[in-house]
C-alpha cells in the first residue's frame, strides 16, 4: 500500500524514462552501459545482471509471438468513487498518469499466442500509480480471466504493484476477492495460469491473484511480499536481513517456482505453457 512513496522515486530509475540519454548507469554495480546495448539486453545490466524496470510493452514484445498480440484492455476507465483528495484530487492524479502512460489505468494486455499457446497476456504497469490495484485493474484482470476461460486460452499475468489503490478505499480491497474468484473460471476449464512477478509486487496483488498461479516465476532480485519493508521495519524495529523478500529468498522459502532472468523469460514461459496447456499446440 506504500505506493505513492514508491512512485515518487520512480522517475530516477531505469526503464520507463523518456530522456534520450546515451549512457545508463547501473544502480547496483555503477557500470556505465550504452543505452542501446541495455535495450538489446532487455534492460538487464550486462555487468551484474541487475534487472532495470521496463515498460509494459517490453513484456508484451518478449512474451507474445510476433504479430500475435491483440490488445483487449483499455475500454474501462477509472472514476473517483470516494471523492478522494490527498495532495491532489484523485481525478487529477489519474489524469497525470493517463497522460504519462497513454493508458486509462495500470494494466495493459490482450490476446496473444505464446510459443504457439493461445493465451491472454496481462501486464501491470508500475509507471501508473505504482501499479496499484483499483477497480479498473481488478476489472481487467477479471475480464482477462473470463476471456481466457471463454476462448480456452492460457492466462499469463506479469505483475508489478505496490498493492491496492488507497484512493478507491474498500473498493480496491474488494478487487482481491474479485480477481481471485475470476481465476476459478480459468481453473474450471483446466486451463493454466502462469504469473511472472517483477519488482516490486507487494500488498493486495501479492495477497490475491498473483500468488494463486499454477506456476509462479519471479525476476531476479524482485521485491515480493505482503507488507513492504518499511512497514516491517517499523513493526519489528530492527533491520531486515539481506535479501529478505527478494525473489531468491522466496524461492528458498518454497514460494515461487523459479527465478528467471528476463533474457530467458520467454523460453521458460513457453516451456511451462506448452506442458500445462491442455489443447494442441503448433510447433512455434
Amino acid at each position: 500500500m506504500a505506493l505513492d512513496r514508491l512512485f515518487r522515486r520512480r522517475r530516477t530509475r531505469g526503464g520507463g524514462r523518456e530522456v534520450p540519454e546515451l549512457w545508463v548507469r547501473c544502480p547496483r554495480c555503477d557500470a556505465q552501459v550504452y543505452k542501446r546495448d541495455l535495450e538489446q539486453n532487455l534492460w538487464v545490466c550486462p555487468e551484474c545482471g541487475y534487472h532495470h524496470r521496463v515498460p509494459v510493452e517490453t513484456y508484451v514484445a518478449v512474451l507474445a509471438d510476433p504479430d500475435s498480440f491483440e490488445p483487449t484492455t483499455g475500454k474501462v476507465r477509472p472514476t473517483d468513487p470516494l471523492g478522494f483528495v490527498d495532495t491532489e484530487p484523485y481525478p487529477e492524479r489519474l489524469a497525470r498518469y493517463q497522460q504519462k502512460t497513454g493508458r486509462p489505468d495500470a494494466i495493459y494486455g490482450g490476446r496473444a499466442t505464446i510459443g504457439g499457446v493461445p493465451s491472454v497476456l496481462l501486464v501491470m504497469d508500475y509507471a501508473f500509480a505504482g501499479g496499484s490495484m483499483g477497480s479498473v485493474v481488478g476489472e481487467e484482470i477479471a475480464r482477462g480471466a473470463e476471456l481466457a476461460a471463454a476462448e480456452n486460452r492460457a492466462l499469463v499475468i506479469v505483475t508489478a504493484s505496490g498493492g491496492a489503490r488507497m484512493q478507491e478505499g474498500a473498493l480496491s480491497l474488494m478487487q482481491m476477492a474479485k480477481t481471485t474468484m475470476a481465476l476459478d473460471l480459468v481453473f474450471a476449464k483446466r486451463l493454466p495460469y502462469l504469473a511472472v512477478l517483477t519488482d516490486p509486487t507487494t500488498g493486495g496483488v501479492t495477497a490475491s491473484f498473483a500468488t494463486l498461479a499454477d506456476v509462479i516465476l519471479a525476476e531476479p532480485g524482485a521485491l515480493i511480499g505482503f507488507a513492504g519493508p518499511r512497514v516491517i521495519k517499523q513493526t519489528i524495529r530492527q533491520d531486515l536481513p539481506e535479501g529478505f523478500q527478494r525473489s531468491e529468498f522466496l524461492k528458498k522459502q518454497g514460494l515461487v517456482d523459479e527465478v528467471v532472468d528476463r533474457r530467458r523469460l520467454r523460453e521458460t514461459v513457453v516451456r511451462f505453457l506448452r506442458l500445462l496447456y491442455p489443447g494442441e499446440v503448433d510447433a512455434a
Binding site: A2, T79, G169, L171, M176, M181, D184, A207, A227, I232
Partner: protein
C-alpha cells in the same frame, strides 16, 4: 479509558448515579430531577452518536470492552467448541474458531481474536494473524464443507501481521489461498466486521454470501494511520485519512461493500455488549435464513455475482 467524545455522556451518567445515591441514602424523592437528567442523557447520547466523525468511529471500533469473537461465541451460541492449531506449524492465538450451535442449528465459525488486557493482547498479537491463523481458518472451512454446516466469520483485526516471521512463511500466499478457499465454500457463508476490518488480513475471511458490519466498525484497504503516513507523511493526519477512506459502515453500505449494518446500542457496543450481540444474532439468523435452500453451485454463483460486481469504473 473513555474516549474523548464519550466524556460528557459519562459525566452525566456519573451525576445521575450520584443523585440516585443521595435519594436513597437521604430517603428523598428526586425522581423528577433524575427523570429529566435521564432524558437529557438519552438526547446527548443520540446527538453525539449522530454526529460521530469517521475517526471517532474508528476509535469506537477499537474501544476496550467491545465484544471480541470469543465474546460473540459466548454471547450468541448455545454452546461451542474451539478447534486449535493449523495441523502444520503452530496454533495462532490471533485466530479462533470451532463448531457451535446457534438457535439449535450447527455452524462453523472463525474470527480474529484480540485480547482484553495488554497482556492478553500481546498473547493474541493484537489480533494480527500469522499464516498459521489463516491455515487454521482454512481448516475450519474444510470442516464446514465436509459437514455441510454454514460458515460464520468474525472480522476484527488491524491487519495481518506485518513482520518477518509472517512474511517468510508466505503471508501473502496464505491470504490469497484463504480468500480463494472461502470463495469456494459449498455452504452458506456470512462474514461480519465486528470491530476493525484491516485490509487483506480482514478480507481473507471476508468472502461471505452476506457481509454484515457493526454500526461502529470500520473496514478499509488500509488503516487510517498508515494511509496518513503515506499521503501526508504524518500518522497524526489519521483523522483526515479516516474521512477520506470512506471506511464507515454507512459508506461501505452505499459502496456495495457490505450488505447490512448491524445497529449498536446507544453509546456503542462496548457500553452494552449484550444488546449489541442480540442485534448481531438476529442479523445472522436472518442472513442464514436468506441463504437457506441454496445449493453449492447457487452459493458460489451468489458470491461470484456479489464480488464480481464490486468496483467503480466507466466503460469506453
Amino acid at each position: 479509558m473513555p474516549l474523548e467524545f464519550e466524556r460528557p455522556i459519562l459525566e452525566l451518567e456519573e451525576k445521575i448515579r450520584a443523585l440516585e445515591t443521595t435519594a436513597r441514602e437521604q430517603n428523598l424523592d428526586l425522581s423528577e430531577e433524575i427523570g429529566l437528567l435521564k432524558e437529557k442523557l438519552a438526547r446527548l447520547e443520540r446527538e453525539i452518536f449522530a454526529g460521530l466523525t469517521p475517526w471517532q468511529r474508528v476509535q469506537l471500533a477499537r474501544a476496550s470492552g467491545r465484544p471480541t469473537t470469543l465474546d460473540v461465541a459466548q454471547g450468541i451460541f448455545e454452546e461451542y467448541v474451539e478447534l486449535k492449531g493449523d495441523r502444520a506449524f503452530a496454533d495462532d492465538p490471533a485466530v479462533v474458531g470451532g463448531v457451535a450451535r446457534l438457535e439449535g442449528r450447527r455452524v462453523v465459525f472463525v474470527g480474529h481474536q484480540k485480547g482484553k488486557t495488554t497482556k492478553e493482547n500481546i498473547a493474541r498479537n493484537f489480533g494480527m494473524p500469522h499464516p498459521e491463523g489463516y491455515r487454521k481458518a482454512m481448516r475450519l472451512m474444510e470442516l464446514a464443507d465436509r459437514e455441510g454446516l454454514p460458515f460464520l466469520a468474525f472480522i476484527d483485526t488491524p491487519g495481518a501481521y506485518p513482520g518477518i516471521s509472517a512474511e517468510e512463511r508466505g503471508q501473502a500466499w496464505i491470504i490469497a489461498r484463504s480468500i480463494q478457499r472461502m470463495s469456494r465454500l459449498r455452504v452458506p457463508a456470512v462474514a461480519v466486521i465486528l470491530g476493525e476490518g484491516g485490509s487483506g488480513g480482514a478480507l481473507a475471511i471476508g468472502v461471505g454470501n452476506r457481509v454484515l458490519i457493526m454500526e461502529n466498525a470500520w473496514y478499509s484497504v488500509i488503516s487510517p494511520e498508515s494511509c496518513a503516513a503515506i499521503l501526508w507523511h504524518d500518522a497524526k493526519e489519521a483523522e483526515r485519512a479516516a474521512a477520506a477512506l470512506k471506511l464507515t459502515a454507512r459508506d461501505l453500505l452505499s459502496l456495495g461493500v457490505v450488505d447490512r449494518i448491524v445497529p449498536e446500542p446507544g453509546g456503542g457496543a462496548h457500553r452494552n455488549p449484550e444488546a449489541a450481540l442480540a442485534e448481531l444474532k438476529r442479523a445472522l439468523l436472518e442472513s442464514l435464513e436468506e441463504l437457506d435452500g441454496l445449493d453449492p453451485e447457487a452459493l458460489w454463483q451468489d458470491r461470484y455475482r456479489k464480488f464480481r460486481g464490486i468496483g467503480a469504473f466507466e466503460e469506453g
